[in-house]
């Protein structure tokens, strides 16, 4: 890592307890601008909780979070989002009672600084937001479903829509929580290709269980276990790491 590598998002000594259970334990991690940084770990390692802390969906019990060098530990989740952090969820969180286009428009409107306190004009307009929404649909091959009710989409297409919505938020940093979970092999390949095309233009942090996807497209990998960092390095370092093999692949 050279000194020009700018750290966009970092956690220092981050902790979260649920009852007596320490899910994230004094964890420190940093994410470099423009890289795809994957997070691996067995179930219960605290990966999703780490995401929830980084986006402030939940508040940490200790530690600090820095976004572009400034402390954002106390900011609300919508403020974090407005500073350019967008995420997808492990469980599909698309709006089922809306058309596919409206799902994306809601994200794109805000990304263009749209004011939600507009009562009189019609939603769906605003050429900039619509152009961004259409571009995101196109990118995930969802254009043909634009006017479809979201609840009628297949699960796979809903997952793709989830990623499209995340992109429509026009973020700088994207957090993807198991983007290929529940997808067919063909759909997984499509999502992998899409993520590969996003590399460089965005800083991407990805939780993923599919080893093929992780090893093929990651620049950096952090392996978590029991709320702490077990190992960190490039794909080849991780593949050869003994303690990772024990914890994750089960020796």
């Amino acid at each position: 890592m050279t000194s020009q590598d700018h750290i966009v998002l970092a956690a220092d000594g981050l902790s979260k307890r649920f009852g007596g259970n320490t899910v994230v334990d004094r964890l420190s991690i940093s994410f470099v601008n423009g890289r795809l940084h994957s997070i691996l770990g067995p179930n219960g390692a605290g990966k999703t909780t780490l995401f929830n802390l980084l986006t402030k969906d939940i508040s940490p019990d200790g530690g600090t979070i820095r976004l572009d060098g400034s402390d954002v530990t106390r900011l609300s989740p919508d403020r974090i989002a407005r500073r350019g952090v967008a995420r997808s969820y492990q469980i599909s969180s698309v709006y089922l009672d809306m058309s596919v286009r409206d799902n994306i428009w809601v994200a794109a409107y805000r990304a263009h600084g749209g004011n939600p306190l507009v009562f009189w004009r019609k939603a769906g307009g605003y050429s900039e937001a619509r152009a961004l929404a259409d571009a995101c649909l196109e990118r995930l091959d969802l254009t043909c479903f634009a006017d479809t009710a979201t609840k009628e989409l297949s699960y796979g297409d809903q997952r793709l829509l989830e990623i499209a919505v995340t992109l429509a938020a026009a973020p700088r940093i994207i957090l993807l929580d198991e983007p290929t979970a529940g997808l067919s092999r063909k759909e997984t390949e499509r999502v992998k290709q899409v993520i590969a095309t996003l590399k460089g233009a965005f800083s991407i942090i990805m939780i993923e269980h599919n080893m093929g996807v992780v090893m093929d497209i990651s620049d950096e990998i952090t392996v978590m276990n029991r709320g702490t960092v077990l190992a960190h390095g490039g794909p080849d370092d991780i593949r050869g790491n003994k303690s990772v093999q024990e914890a994750y692949f089960g020796s």
């Binding site: 989740p77 969820y89 709006y95 809306m98 939600p116 009562f119 009189w120 919505v165």
Partner: protein
């Protein structure tokens, strides 16, 4: 865009049908009952902005209806006659109370939000009940006059005639409906709808969900307050029952009976609820029991309300037509 044009044409047809229906209503049923239907229609539409669009099940809306009714009623009973000012005060009264109660309840979700709005409703009820010198206590606030509107060139509009008062209610009803329909289709309405479906996702897209929900709560409070003012003027008394929590439950029932998916639903719900209330109370002194049974039947068999019934009937008819072919 041809599609936009066609959509606008359909909207104009619907608006014309609504105006015609409102104009015809007092020819079909007694004029004061028709006025009551419109007043509760306004109240139910405002409640539907919360229930149907924002997904906020408030069981305290009678507090805002009552606040508007008592504020405007007090003003008019004191000898002031300006109707616009009375309505303005009623809207402000409902809105300010909604801002206070909303600020304290909006962060709670589900059952906790329901219980908080319910409890605040009770609190408002007992304040009005106890503050007898101003509100008339359990006798209600009597002596409310209907107020007048001063217009240049046209002179003074009076509403002592029940048909004139109906016309006033009709104008306010149609304006409220237009505003609320437009609002549900605006960015504000779409984001509220998004937050109803998934508040966390909506926050993660950069929206301050609680602030938007509070705005909806205040808007509903303002409109409910104006409906309350009309109610006080209609019978020239503001009864204490109008702020009782059962009033809050009834207006939610109206929304559920009619259907939440459009603003027509709550209006239909209000009309049927008031009609049934009248009918059942003639038949049996224990009429709320029958009304309760009716609500239960609708909720079990028509979870989408009467709008759902229309949709099912039209789907069934088009299927029948296809079979004949």
């Amino acid at each position: 865009m041809p599609k936009g044009g066609a959509l606008a044409a359909a909207d104009i047809v619907r608006a014309a049908a609504m105006v015609a229906a409102v104009a015809a209503l007092p020819l079909v049923i007694p004029v004061n009952i028709a006025t009551e239907v419109l007043i509760y229609g306004i109240f139910a539409m405002a409640t539907n902005l919360l229930v149907g669009t924002a997904g906020l099940y408030s069981f305290g809306q009678a507090a805002f209806f009552g606040a508007g009714g008592y504020v405007a009623g007090y003003f008019l009973a004191q000898g002031f006659v300006s109707l616009p000012l009375a309505l303005l005060l009623a809207g402000a009264g409902g809105g300010v109370l909604a801002a206070l109660i909303g600020a304290l309840s909006i962060r709670r979700t589900g059952i906790y939000f329901m219980m908080l709005t319910f409890a605040f409703n009770q609190l408002v009820f007992y304040v009005i009940y106890s503050w007898q010198s101003v509100t008339g206590g359990e006798d209600g606030l009597a002596g409310i006059r209907r107020g007048t509107i001063e217009l240049p060139f046209l002179g003074t509009l009076k509403f002592d005639d029940n048909r004139a008062f109906y016309a006033l209610a009709a104008v306010l009803f149609l304006v409220s409906m237009a505003i609320l329909i437009r609002m549900t289709r605006s960015p504000f309405g779409l984001v509220l709808d998004a937050a109803r479906q998934n508040a966390r996702r909506t926050t993660s897209l950069g929206y301050s969900v609680h602030a938007l929900q509070l705005a909806a709560f205040v808007i509903a409070g303002v409109i409910s307050g104006i409906a309350g003012a009309l109610f006080g003027m209609l019978y020239r008394i503001m009864p204490i029952d109008a702020v009782h929590w059962t009033g809050s439950a009834y207006v939610v029932f109206m929304v559920l009976i009619g259907g939440q998916r459009s603003m027509l639903g709550p209006v239909l719900g209000a009309a049927i609820f008031i009609w049934l209330q009248g009918l059942f109370s003639l038949v049996w002194t224990r009429w709320p029991l029958l009304l309760g049974l009716f609500v239960i039947v609708v909720m079990i068999y028509l979870p989408g309300g009467l709008l759902d019934l229309f949709a099912r009937v039209s789907a069934w008819r088009s299927r029948l037509r296809e079979q004949r072919r």
